[in-house]
Amino acid sequence: MTDVTELGVAAIREGVAKGEFSAVEVAEAFNANVAAAQQALNAFIVPTPEKAIEAAQAVDAARAAGKPLGKMAGVPIGMKDLFATRGIQTTAASHILEGFKPEYESTVSQKLWDAGAGMLGKLNLDQFAMGSSNETSYFGNVISPWRRNDGGNAALAPGGSSGGSSAAVAARLAPAATGTDTGGSIRQPAAFTGISGIKPTYGRCSRWGVVAFASSLDQAGPMARDVRDCAIMLEAMAGFDPKDSTSLDMPVPAWEAGLSGDLKGKKVGIPREYRLDGMDEEVAKSWDQGIAWLKDAGAEIVEISLPHTKYALPTYYIIAPAEASSNLARYDGVRYGLRDLPDGAGLQDMYAATRAAGFGPEVKRRILIGTYVLSAGFYDAYYTQAQKVRALISRDFKEAWAHCDVILAPTTPSASFALGEKSADPLEMYLNDVFSVPASLAGLPAMSVPAGLNSEGLPLGLQIIGKPFDEQGVLNAGLAIESRAGFTAKPEKWW
């Protein structure tokens, strides 16, 4: 029998629909992979094998009864532990939410269950999605299934913040997983682990029930092995939700049916400002290769300018912490989660003690930065100025769309790095998001697809950024790259 854990979303759905294997068989196979890798990779905070089986049994029963099957029928997935799941611990990888069992289900996860998907477990991540290497989780680091080909066996970063998601999909613990992207948290981990991931236009996926980090930036999206699987899963996740005030009231396009790698008549913009001084040569080479592939797919290549690119990261590191400091004010030891009540402490002391005990160092750092830039006397110099520069960054993209349909760039400035290599210096870690943050600030759809391996044997990703609401254009350019890159590499199993 086929090893079903080598199959993606489309193949599993088709196999289940045709009766080549049952949904329960698929769930059991992935459950086994999850259990076998848990010790070594730490990709899950809470595995939920019984949930996966339960959903699979429902799909098998529906098929036996001749009922119509959903878009994700029989596909077990990993759920980033930022999505509230009813009755299942939801922590955002923090101590402050340890033991929190929501009484409700996030809109996105509910839509996936309604489409026939099942849950393999809650995936590890950077604490409150703050990090680029999955080294800030209260529940320990996620280890990438990839290793350098130097025989050194150094533990590598799976990227972040959706590092549990990327590790799980790359290691065949799940055919697909949910991610969330605030400044690159879907695209960067996808690039680091040789998988695909798309962040849709801001507002496509409901934020209801997603633990908030920076509300004007947070957007959910799928992470999977290929572009088609991303299209299928994004269709299942997206859609208007009256419970999210920033949800887009627009129909969800049929992205899967609309897939086409033929780019004749399309213009692909190459932003001059992304070619950084001292850029990693292999990253530059893979970008050039990507340009050649898109040309081969029929696209016209045009050079464009996004003049405010260099200001995107500092803008992000004002706006995101500012919003985070406000969002995280809710963790007070009163309504849910941890409470630290020192002897004889009053209410204010309890707040301060609870938050000190419940948040990790990176979360505290960002709360302090955010509080500072929003405080009286500094608000205009930092926060208002950052919002104005954000407007200019967004305007750069609007002007670029007069000349091109999509933009091609690297996803990350380097391949994955070893754990501990960048965690001592927060600024160095932040620079990892240099190529992914601008699209986040402008709310644009953007995806990463694998382009190849570097000389160390590690994956590199290419990023496609699209116009607002044009996920189709992004997916199509991704497909054109995918079909030419022929990326079949996978981490050699050592766990």
């Binding site: 930065i369 500072y372 407007a391 709310g443």
Partner: protein, 100 residues
């Protein structure tokens, strides 16, 4: 602009984060490093630019003025709301004494 130990202590108090003197001492250079880096935004000419608050044009909707229009977010959820409270008592959130 740079921060000193007194400023960090004040921000931490505003953010309701208990921090030790040693933690403050460690945070001062870290925060200064980050602040010095973000200060480059000051060189951008933003004359006549409106601060961006919403990235995708969207209007804020008002829900219909109907009780329990959406049962998920409507009323009657006291026990659900209290289910995860560290100290729920008699249908309320329990907190340390606030009024002397």
């Amino acid at each position: 602009m740079s921060v000193d130990t007194a400023t960090v202590a004040k921000i931490a108090a505003l953010a309701r984060l208990k921090v030790s003197e040693a933690e403050i001492a460690a945070m001062v250079p870290e925060l200064n490093g980050i602040l010095a880096w973000v200060e480059q935004l000051g060189e951008v000419d933003c004359t006549g630019i409106e601060p961006m608050t919403a990235v995708i044009p969207n209007t804020l909707r008002l829900r219909d003025d109907v009780i329990d229009a959406d049962p998920l977010t409507g009323g009657g959820k006291r026990d659900d709301v209290l289910a995860n409270a560290p100290a729920a008592e008699h249908g309320f959130f329990g907190v340390p004494k606030v009024i002397e």
